[in-house]
């Protein structure tokens, strides 16, 4: 074979797809290359606080190779295969995988092996993708740094002393460290987009209901959405097309055709956005945003104008209240969704010492031992917010704010086709920096949360570097207009990559682990 195996891990999914179809490489070779890469950089199993990237919580090398060989055999027999057949993928550990551990980054589910696949995972298998394993995350997707994983932090491939974002830090870091060309994330308040921003990758939170939540372990049911993560806009679209669609097992899934996201990404790649109206959200820049972030954002706006887009600034007055509303709705729903973890049926079970131990005592001891601090903080918050006498003041008011935020977006999309903002106010900060200051961590979600409250789709894509660290740009579109993200994202990506003389990720330093 002419291609050095080590080189395969740098190829994007679209290129791998062509090579697989042309017979230049086999899925087994591609899969083995990624497994080798994981072995080289992810750190030794059982050493979570070592110097590896630690993007994966579980790697199923045997299963992945077996599936890869099956796809190769199917291809050899002339079977009709989808564009991503034979391509490896990492799945966030919040989606159930039959026969493969699913922990949600929590001690509570350590060792739990689900008896069923999430619909998204079923779709991946049906499309011939090769699941490498499960990626690290903040416990039950609560956090913005992946430091709240019970199984150790994930490190940012750009700088191993920094956060990879969260909660889906594993899915983003795996892409930036070339451990997988594609990953699945979930986004409740930015858990796909913010990690994408701080790792220089692409991530999309689809329209609420566009991708089935069946088998996605719920954090906040009305906000959660699984979505695609990749290194390019086109790859993200290809994966989006695989996982989106109506699912009768999820009554909140949308019974409508999926927009042509792949077509939109290909169309956008010509870099022409003539006639596209782009709105800049006044409330999502300025104070609180790092100068480097604002500088890259301003340059990206210049590129959008150069692409022919009409760029206007507009105001969404109510989104300044989005963060507060979100941190009432999320804990409320989470307090109820996480009630099932009680040691009675699966996962951790802690039986306190003594005679005549009651079920209630087992539940209490199990929950005390199984949940980390951030999970407990949000369960307590949510339990309080839903209490009789406080419901109207907290949960009820938050839902009203949510309606106002939705209305702001509806008004804005009457004037423009997409909205843009920086994805996060800062670049990746240092591990531990905000661990003792949850409010500062929450504030980092200010730009991503409104999309979850409104149920609209959002994308983060690389906008450049600030002090050597990636900056993300967010694109937002109306519900069920996910294709607009891909057209605008692909156009901006094409122009920026041309300007940079290559993809941003070409500049990610070779992994050397944590400096001594």
């Amino acid at each position: 074979m002419s291609t050095p195996v080590a080189e395969l891990v740098r190829w994007d999914a679209a290129r791998l797809s062509q090579a697989l179809r042309a017979g230049v490489v086999s899925s087994e070779e591609v899969t083995r290359a990624h497994l080798d890469r994981i072995a080289a950089v992810d750190g030794p199993t059982g050493d979570p606080d070592g110097s590896g990237v630690h993007a994966f919580l579980h790697v199923d090398a045997e299963g992945a190779l077996a599936r890869a060989r099956q796809v190769d055999a199917d291809r050899a027999s002339g079977a009709e295969l989808g564009p991503l057949a034979g391509i490896p993928i990492g799945v966030k550990d919040v989606l159930t995988t039959r026969g493969m551990p699913t922990t949600c980054g929590s001690r509570m589910l350590e060792g739990w092996v689900p008896p069923y696949d999430a619909t998204v995972v079923r779709e991946l298998h049906a499309a011939g993708l090769v699941v490498l394993g499960k990626t690290n995350m903040d416990e039950f997707a609560m956090g913005s740094t992946t430091e709240h994983s019970a199984f150790g932090v994930t490190r940012n491939p750009w700088d191993p002393t920094r956060i990879p974002g969260g909660s889906g830090g594993g899915s983003a870091a795996a892409l930036a460290a070339f451990e997988a060309p594609l990953t699945i994330g979930s986004d409740t308040g930015g858990s796909i987009r913010q990690p994408a921003a701080v790792t220089g990758t692409v991530g999309v939170k689809p329209t609420y209901g566009a991708v089935s939540r069946y088998g996605l372990v719920a954090l906040a049911s009305s906000l959660d959405q699984a979505g695609p993560c990749a290194r390019t806009v086109l790859d993200t679209a290809l994966l989006h097309a695989v996982i989106a669609g109506h699912d009768p097992y999820d009554s909140t899934s949308i019974p409508a055709a999926v927009p042509d996201v792949v077509g939109a990404a290909r169309r956008g790649a010509d870099g022409d956005l003539s006639g596209v109206r782009v709105g800049v959200v006044r409330e999502l820049s300025g104070e609180g945003y790092e100068p480097g972030v604002l500088a890259r954002f301003a340059e990206a706006l210049d590129e959008l104008r150069a692409a022919g887009a009409e760029v206007v600034e507009l105001s969404l007055p109510n989104i300044v209240h989005a963060l507060a509303a979100y941190y009432l709705i999320l804990p409320s729903e989470a307090s109820s969704n996480l009630a099932k973890f009680d040691g009675m049926r699966y996962g951790l079970r802690v039986v306190p010492d003594g005679e005549h131990v009651t079920a209630e005592q087992v539940m209490r001891a199990t929950r005390a031992a199984g949940f980390g601090d951030e999970a407990k903080r949000r369960i307590v918050l949510g339990t309080y917010a839903l209490s009789a006498g406080y419901y109207d003041a907290y949960y009820g008011s938050a839902q009203k704010v949510r309606t106002l935020v939705q209305r702001d977006f509806t008004d804005a999309f009457g004037k423009v086709d997409v909205l843009v903002s920086p994805t996060a106010p800062t670049v990746a900060y240092r591990l531990g920096e905000k661990l003792d200051d949850p409010l500062a961590m929450y504030a980092g979600d200010v730009a991503t949360i409104p999309a979850n409250l409104a149920g609209i789709p959002g994308m983060s894509l690389p906008a450049g570097l600030s002090d050597g660290l990636p900056v993300g740009l967010q694109v937002l579109a109306p519900q069920q207009a996910d294709d607009r993200l891909y057209r605008v994202g692909a156009a901006l990506e094409a122009r920026l990559v041309a300007k940079w003389g290559g993809p941003l990720l070409a500049r990610v330093p070779e992994w050397k682990g944590v400096p001594a």
Binding site: T96, Y214, T252, Y346, L386
Partner: protein, 509 residues
């Protein structure tokens, strides 16, 4: 002694000084093939934890999807109870921790029930001794809402089978997620001393209605119909409502009546002693006829209800609701009045038919050609005895209404005597075939050969000269001995009436 240690007041005395107010909450398990929110099967009595799937076990990631058939049944129940059907309603989560609840919240309807503001007219029968007359009471229905059932805990070890003292507990999740409809009345006022009768008549009427709708097995002994009785007393009908107790586990019609009587006596004793009734959940004990205190239920109990975000709001198409209205059966009470008139049954005859659970069977037997009176006699008489002896439901006997009608036709044609017909029934129940087949195979038909009968009668006369003397002497009843002899000679296969005629004729009396 009651839990509050003040004894009981005689029922009649209690209702002479206090005005009872009832409230009834009835849980109905629907007979859908699958659960409320998933495709798990719902077979009753299956091996523990076999009627489950990720959703009904509350596994991480699993999600609910509303059972369309359950929604249909809920709407039909609502319509049959003369309720308004919500144009839009939602489910809510009722949050509390208990091991038999897989998610530690119950998905239920809270402030947005599918059906509300209805009524059911209930015929309350006269008391057995006739001292209190029959009357019709309109029960106001506050709401009928959908929810899911919980699993069942089994406490092993210890003497009581209850959680206290048990060595360990097992949980069976087969019942978890079975669709339930909870039907809640408004306070039933003005029942006076008939409160127990009204309560029983309401539950009976509801059971009949649900059975006619074919939405539930309505077997109280299996828990597919469960009743909670709320009761309070007040000094007079003008006084504000008193504090109520909620008595659970009242699982037969008789228990409904008894539990109301008991609680009236108990409340009266508490109030007479100058104490306050505790608002609490109480448990009914069928064996002792007592209620005992369960957990205290304050209004502050906080289930942290909020709208279920995993389910979309329900917006039934009004045209569909009207289609469902057109499928409603004739109201059971009305249907009964019609059938009684058509069949010409007296009130006691019809009541026996109802009590035997034989109305549908008689109806089908009549439809197959039998006279109503004969059909009633079969089902409330011989067939009820057989069902009792075998310990099965009447409808579970191995004989169809059509077969009973065939049998009766043979009796009416004179082919079988009553005694022969019962023998034929033995064969039919034993699976030997239809009435005609069994009669042929067992040779049961009445002997219609007149010359053989005449010969037997003559032989009997010759053999019993003393008897013949008596008959000729005017003691006609003495003919019985001759008839018996003839019947014996004929192996019972003779028409006794015809034999009597022949005896009288041949003796020449």
């Amino acid at each position: 002694m009651s839990a509050q240690g003040v004894g009981l007041v005689d029922y009649d005395e209690a209702v002479s000084r206090f005005d009872p107010v009832l409230g009834l909450e009835v849980h109905v398990e629907l007979n859908t093939k699958t659960k409320m929110f998933s495709g798990a099967p719902t077979e009753f009595g299956a091996e523990p934890n076999t009627q489950v799937d990720p959703t009904s076990l509350g596994l991480p990631g699993a999600m609910p999807v509303l059972n369309a058939k359950a929604l249909e049944s809920a709407i039909r129940i609502g319509l049959a109870l003369n309720c308004s059907i919500a144009e839009r309603c939602r489910f809510a989560r009722k949050n509390y921790f208990y091991p038999d609840m897989p998610k530690n919240f119950q998905t239920s309807q809270y402030d947005e029930p599918i059906a509300f503001d209805g009524h059911l007219d209930v015929d309350v029968p006269a008391s057995e001794d006739g001292s209190k007359p029959a009357f019709t009471y309109r029960v106001q229905i506050e709401r009928a809402h959908m929810e899911e059932d919980t699993g069942k805990s089994l406490h092993v070890g210890g003497s009581t089978g209850r959680i206290h003292g048990a060595e360990y507990s097992l949980v069976d999740y087969n019942r978890a997620g079975i669709p339930l409809i909870e039907i809640v009345t408004r306070p039933l006022e003005g029942t006076g001393d008939r409160a127990p009768d009204v309560a029983r008549a309401y539950v009976a009427a509801l059971r009949d209605l649900l059975r006619a709708l074919e939405v539930s097995d309505v077997k109280m002994e299996q828990g597919s119909l469960r009743c909670d009785v709320n009761l309070s007393l007040r000094p007079s009908p003008d006084a504000p409502l008193g504090t109520r107790s909620e008595t659970k586990n009242v699982n037969s019609l008789r228990s409904v009546e008894r539990a109301v009587r008991y609680e009236v006596s108990r409340h009266a004793a508490v109030l007479d002693a100058g104490r306050k009734v505790v608002q609490e959940t109480r448990h009914w004990h069928e064996d002792t006829g007592l209620t005992t205190a369960g957990r205290e239920k304050s209004d502050a109990e906080d289930y942290r209800y909020f709208p279920e975000p995993d389910l979309v709001p329900i917006e039934p198409d009004p045209a569909w609701v009207e289609q469902l209205r057109a499928t409603l059966p004739e109201p059971p009470a009305q249907r009964r009045k019609r059938l009684q008139a058509e069949w010409g049954f007296s009130d006691p005859e019809f009541r026996d038919t109802v009590n035997a659970g034989a109305v549908e069977l008689v109806e089908a037997t009549v439809a197959a050609g039998a006279p109503p009176a004969a059909a009633r006699k079969w089902w409330t008489g011989e067939l009820s005895r057989r069902a009792n002896a075998e310990g099965v439901e009447l409808s579970a006997l191995a004989v169809t209404p059509a077969a009973v009608a065939d049998l009766q036709a043979l009796v009416d044609a004179g082919t079988l005597t009553d005694r022969l017909a019962r023998e034929a029934l033995d064969g039919m129940l034993a699976g030997e075939g239809g009435a005609a087949e069994v009669v042929a195979a067992r040779g049961l038909a009445v002997v219609s050969d007149e010359s053989a009968l005449v010969a037997a009668v003559d032989a009997a006369i010759a053999a019993n000269p003393g008897v013949v003397e008596k008959i000729r002497g005017g003691k006609v009843q003495a003919a019985g001995a001759l008839i018996g002899a003839v019947m014996k000679e004929m192996g019972g296969k003779a028409d006794a009436a015809r034999v009597r005629e022949l005896v009288v004729e041949r003796v020449g009396a």
